[in-house]
Symmetry: C2
Subunit: 339 residues, 2 copies
């Protein structure tokens, strides 16, 4: 996934994988093995299309471990927190795929598509529970008080996730959306868990309050920057602009940053978007219209400013060593990626 | 709800209500108030049909508090655990109603029926998170180590809930069900949370390992007995037998204890049940057929034996005072109820 610090990243990814598998094993019980199989399928370990690509990039758990190391801790101590964050992320993906009626994820059929909505809801609930169980493993190396703090950081992030998802779903019925509606949604859906990831890493490293808050701000702004950049690529990225691809956010109806900017202009773009049922052959001209109305510039500037804020927060957090360099590189890389 | 120890019960129920409202308030956030409203609706506080009846009987949180008091603790200390157990129960109801396609609960429209499946899944996730956040409040009066133990008791119960629900859903595709399939499902779906309720009460009271295990067994067997009795009433209770009611488990296709007993006989009852689409006018004769095959006797004996085991476990747990008497009365009452 990440091209920076190849050796360190590979070490972290391998440790995360081991920890994740151990965490998911806990669901197993005589007569109930298929529930574990569903989770293993979702995590990319089993079934058609299984393999490293199918499991996602593991950016969140890597962030937990890099932050812990960059804050002066031993990353190994943060492994349960890293696995927990990845499990929470995946629980939310299972439920999001049902809520968004998405038939595929990472090129494979989604859980609900294969096993039906009822079993998929329940499998998500099982994964959510496994995430919290896994976090309890922190206690093996950390004080009870710190383990409880970590649980609360995570629970607050989960609450924000559900608030963000609530807003996303609620926006479907609205015809007066604008930029103001974007940030509360993305703070919940994307930034909350990344903020929790860096806060957990710093918490486990044992840094003082102020540096921990700086690491948290780094994660939060990284998340916001990441989403803004993702939204930019979702309309003007190479895959999206060809018009042949179904990957364009203009086709899926995603309430992305440039789209909400455009809706707020209440001009030609907004008129067409609210009519709905946008066709592949319209994408190129509609993207051009949105660009003419300022949506592309606005989004690029937002991504740049947020990355700048992320890097500034990181500087205040005084990251150390190889892991610190990796965090800086990660922020740059996320902004300058093309896909 | 409970007719025993009226004054004590009323005090506990009022305290539980206050704690629950406080717990659910935590989801509130500017711009997101409607998510809190959905949860308040589900809990019977808001919307059409709101009122004490709409919120359920609160048996689980009362069990937590009575157990804590009967084990020699102050029930007030167990309030966060009591509220947590009730919130977990309600989270699972929100998701179960979607999974079972149930349009009503406690005489009111279900969450998914009013706000759609996506918002209902997400509201359930929010309530699940609030449950865990609430448990953290134990720390205000209890040691960190005990708070972590309580969290693990709860997480294991949640894991069992999802296993039980997995089995329930998986049974829909099977045509070879028998009694053996009943207990693993009910241990997860019903008994696990009641076992956790009494274990949490005893844990917070600070009793030693052996008595805590006895309190746990009490809760578990009470849960199993409760379910067996519920299943009996679901077919031969006054409401179910009239044939005019749609409340019969024979109409809803519920895999209850007498039904699974009957399916295991592979006789006339099983043949009719597997054909499906059972009509109201058939209920009376089908119930008589199942009774002739031994389903009613088997279920009554099971409920009696399990209640006996529950009472024996309770005796071993050496419950004290008014709360101890209330627990004994509760077990008798659950067995001898007629609806």
């Amino acid at each position: 996934m990440l091209k920076i610090n190849h050796e360190l990243t590979q070490t972290l990814l391998a440790a995360i994988e081991t920890e994740l598998r151990q965490a998911v094993t806990r669901v197993e019980d005589p007569g109930c093995s298929h529930l574990g199989y569903m989770l293993a399928y979702h995590l990319g370990w089993e079934g058609e299309g299984a393999g490293p690509e199918a499991g996602g990039k593991h950016i969140r758990p890597v962030l937990v471990l890099l932050t812990c190391a960059a804050a002066g801790g031993a990353w190994q101590a943060a492994l349960p927190a890293a696995a927990t964050v990845e499990l929470v992320h995946n629980f939310s993906l299972i439920h999001d795929d049902i809520e968004d009626n998405s038939p595929t994820r990472r090129g494979r059929s989604t859980l609900w598509k294969l096993w039906g909505v009822p079993q998929a809801i329940n499998a998500g609930d099982a994964l959510f529970t496994l995430a919290y169980l896994e976090l309890g493993r922190l206690r093996e190396t950390q004080p009870a008080e710190l383990t409880l703090r970590a649980a609360e950081v995570l629970q607050q992030a989960c609450l924000q996730l559900t608030r963000g998802q609530y807003l996303d779903l609620a926006y479907e019925a609205r015809t007066d959306l604008s930029l103001e509606d974007y940030w509360p949604m993305i703070r919940g859906k994307t930034a909350a868990l990344l903020a929790a990831a860096t806060e957990l890493g710093a918490l486990i490293a044992g840094v003082e309050e102020e540096r921990r808050a700086a690491f948290r701000r780094f994660g939060e702004h990284l998340g916001l920057a990441f989403q803004a950049q993702d939204d930019l690529l979702g309309i003007w990225g190479e895959m999206a602009i060809t018009g042949k691809s179904t990957a364009s956010d203009l086709l899926t109806g995603k309430k992305s940053l440039p789209v909400l900017y455009g809706l707020g202009q209440r001009s030609k773009f907004a008129q067409r978007w609210y009519r709905g049922n946008i066709q592949p052959q319209e994408i190129e001209s509609l993207a051009a219209q949105l660009e003419a109305e300022g949506g592309r510039d606005y989004t690029r500037r937002a991504a740049e400013e947020l990355t700048e804020q992320a890097l500034q927060a990181l500087e205040e957090a005084q990251p150390r060593g190889e892991a610190g360099e990796a965090l800086t590189a990660l922020a740059h890389q996320l902004l300058h990626r093309q896909a």
